[in-house]
Symmetry: C2
Subunit: 510 residues, 2 copies
């Protein structure tokens, strides 16, 4: 079956010069990735840095064509796509920096010693790449969470080959990005098979099941993620599945904050909800607002601003249909008032929606808790701190949890603590929709936000998903990996006899 | 049903003053552990250190009684049990040191900055405890991998409450250890419910299924581990399951090493196989020895020494029955010669066994690869490097992989590299049976050695299993956890704007 590229804005379809990948072809690609991973793991770290840098350059070299392709396939505005591509190139360079730093190897040396338990032998630990990683690109970020996205960049930084399943909503962009990355690989003389790209649902299944594949990175819906996670667990040799499955991202306005700045808060929330037509996995979908006049003013401002946004073209007709189905299901819940509702629209087109429900009802009705991917938010009105707490505990754990507070707000501390228990990122007086690439970012959260609460898909720690430790016991120096030799030839951060020692990366030659 | 303590050496049985724990009682205990975890997470880190130190002291205070109890229930020799208890107390103090160091929190601060991607907000990450941990004690280490073992100590170090399922082979020792730990908890005024202990198979199932339980640590057999792992995955909210399932632990003697020191190698291997009656999860079960005269001398020495060991009393009658069943199944494989075979024995008593098979057959016959827990080893005779490699690739991945080499051995580098691909610890010219508690130890390995190749159940990194990261975005200083405040009040290792900064733990008051 051939692969088709569709413009969600116009419905125009283009048949691509590529077909869905057969399961046999997927298995062959995974086998080549296995060989490539072994070879790649033997290359020097600075070669790995160079490769990541070259990938950033090649993406930038093709920027105009890549943005045009993504514009056709996603209907996202050009400035957003240019920004996303720049961020994607930056991400490759950031991971080159992570490689250079070397702390991700968790190198640790314990020289032989007499412990209270008797003699301990020389023990040296380092992390090694797990092997080929399967990456499932997302619908909503055609660059940053797709073929050249964080999963790909972090897996390459870890020393793993990557086979990517293209998202069906942007196959042409996926193929074009793959060409740019492959050009960088050829330029650097990378092992053949280091990168692979497959198309089609069955290809994705075959990829998770391929014996050489050692781990999976996935960004997408709860249903698709759970199904693939179950496949990964059902293998003869189960493999870790790092799924980022989206979430409802509660945002709380305290009574004091509502009193202080209702209009500005309503506008800020509306802008965050409408960003990218609501198609962010960090979109604040549940807005907890106090009952009473101050809260009414927040909701009025939110509704006015959200109603003025759009109409929107979503990423695909399928996503728009899911949005309409999800929104209708929420609206069918007795007690949920519809405050903002434009045209439902047709094909990929639709409008923003704002619902309202009281917190007690929200806490009771499970159906109200579902994420609705797209430009929709639910204002949950609470009577007091206890009702708020109960409603927040009823909401599913999330990627993010935001709180808007006033100066010396009596509710602030308890809400921040609650957020830390139920989300991977707690935002105070800000909005969760931006996910910066940095050392301290955590983009993850407790189930069902992700399948692995300890893992992040953004930021330096993303690389840790693709590594496992190995300890070398009484291994002679010439048989040790460079990271563990006494003289620290890589200049990386290490722990030596229990004390961390800073690294001094040499330029070149490592 | 009441719980019974059995002496495997004599068959003497004592009925304990405790019954199997009902599922309702397990759920109530898990709920209390949930509350205790929340309270514990709020306590200061130095309080946590004090608690761990107090547990070491209380175990030592009861040493005579604990060792006597374990002696009755396990038939392990007294010096071994005294050493194991000392190591177990040491482990609590070691984890107190890990807490003091603070690197396990992975604290990272990125101050607000203008990045190439535009402004980045203030982002600060720290790891938080996951919540109550369920620990399944092992049969073979009544202290070090049971109630007061590494899973319990590391979970408490991480800030989590612990509910332990006692191993049925040493219930009285489990109860006595629990009393010592509980005394330490009371002495330190720990939150009620911080520690729990349950007995019985159904109680174990209920524990994995209890909603408050956030993660599981397990040491035991592949069959039991896989079953509980499946339960953990089948929950409405799946939880991570860290199972250490044992392994066959290949040990390779190169041609050059066999030529150089055949007799000493045979004796060394035999001692490692017979240690603790072969009941170590790191027992070298597959001994790869070259064909020909030098190899014959290794096997002869191994057989002579192993045949002189024993007879043995295993940990329980059930374990001895499994040993006889497993050994008979291996011996029924056509082509496996029996070189050493004493009496099969009755009840918990048995003798050491040594089998021999050629490498080509080993590579073909899957049944030969199974771990046989107890005093048995299989000598696998190989003709050359290629046959050796194929046989090693056919063996299951393991916790450990040992290689005995000569000076400038032409086979050494390839074997060390192969070992690093297929095991969690690579030992050169040594034996895998000792597992030291240290910063650099990794006790884990690829499936089926464990269910999570990235995790270790021994050493400083064991604490990482019970933590998940949270990032705080633009959170005012007074709402930040202490680990993330600018002034570093805990004196812990942190990454600040991408650079690691050493910690300076203050004494007291943190």
């Amino acid at each position: 079956m051939s692969v088709t590229s569709t413009n969600p804005a116009t419905g125009e379809r283009r048949e691509l010069d590529v077909g869905e990948t057969s399961p046999e072809a997927v298995r062959a690609m995974a086998a080549r990735a296995g060989d490539a991973s072994s070879e790649y793991a033997r290359r020097a770290l600075d070669w790995r840095e160079d490769l990541l840098g070259a990938m950033a350059e090649e993406l930038e070299a093709d920027a105009d064509a890549l943005v045009a392709s993504a514009r056709f396939e996603t209907a996202l505005p050009e400035p957003r796509l240019r920004g996303e591509l720049a961020r994607t190139a930056f991400q490759f360079r950031f991971f080159a920096e992570v490689v250079r730093d070397g702390a991700f190897l968790a190198a640790s040396i314990d020289e032989a010693t007499d412990s209270p338990m008797g003699p301990l032998p020389d023990l040296r630990r380092v992390r090694v790449p797990v092997g080929p990683v399967a990456v499932f690109g997302s619908s909503n970020f055609p660059f940053a969470f797709s073929v050249p996205g964080g999963d790909t960049a972090s897996a390459l930084a870890a020393g793993c080959a990557v086979v990517i399943k293209a998202h069906p909503a942007h196959p042409a962009t996926s193929a074009a990005c793959f060409v740019a990355l492959s050009r960088a690989a050829v330029r650097c003389d990378a092992p053949e098979g280091l990168l692979g790209l497959v198309f089609g649902l069955d290809a994705g299944t075959a990829l998770v099941q391929a014996p050489e594949v050692a781990a999976v990175g996935f960004t997408g819906s709860l249903a698709a993620g759970r199904a693939l996670w179950a496949l990964a667990n059902a293998r003869e040799v189960p493999i870790p599945f790092y799924g980022e499955l989206g979430s409802a991202n509660p945002l709380v306005v305290t009574a004091a904050a509502a009193r202080e700045r209702a209009v500005a808060l309503g506008e800020g929330v509306a802008a965050s909800v409408a960003l990218g037509a609501g198609q962010f996995c960090t979109k604040p979908g549940l807005i907890f607002v106090p009952a009473g006049e101050d809260g009414d003013a927040v909701v009025a401002s939110l509704g006015a601003r959200l109603g003025a946004e759009g109409p929107f073209t979503l990423l695909s007709e399928g996503i728009a249909e899911n949005f309409r189905r999800g929104a209708r299901a929420l609206e069918a819940q007795g007690g949920a008032a519809v405050l903002v509702a434009g045209e439902w629209g047709e094909a990929a087109h639709t409008s923003a929606r704002l619902l309202e429900v009281d917190a007690a009802r929200f806490a009771r009705e499970r159906a109200l808790r579902a994420e609705c991917f797209g430009p929709l938010a639910v204002a949950v009105r609470y009577g007091g701190p206890e009702e708020l707490r109960a409603a927040l505990e009823a909401a599913e754990p999330s990627l993010t949890f935001s709180v808007h507070v006033a100066e010396a707000d009596p509710d602030a501390a308890a809400l921040v603590a609650l957020g830390a228990r139920r989300a991977g990122r707690v935002v105070v007086n800000g909005y969760p929709t931006g996910v910066g690439v940095s050392w301290s970012m955590h983009h993850g959260g407790p189930w069902p936000a992700t399948t692995a609460a300890g893992a992040t898909s953004v930021g330096a720690a993303a690389v840790e998903r693709w590594l496992r430790p190995v300890t070398y016991q009484t291994v002679p120096p010439d048989l040790l990996p460079a990271a563990l030799r006494d003289e620290n030839p890589l200049g990386i951060v290490r722990r030596v006899n229990g004390r961390l020692e800073a690294g001094t990366p040499p330029r070149g030659g490592r």
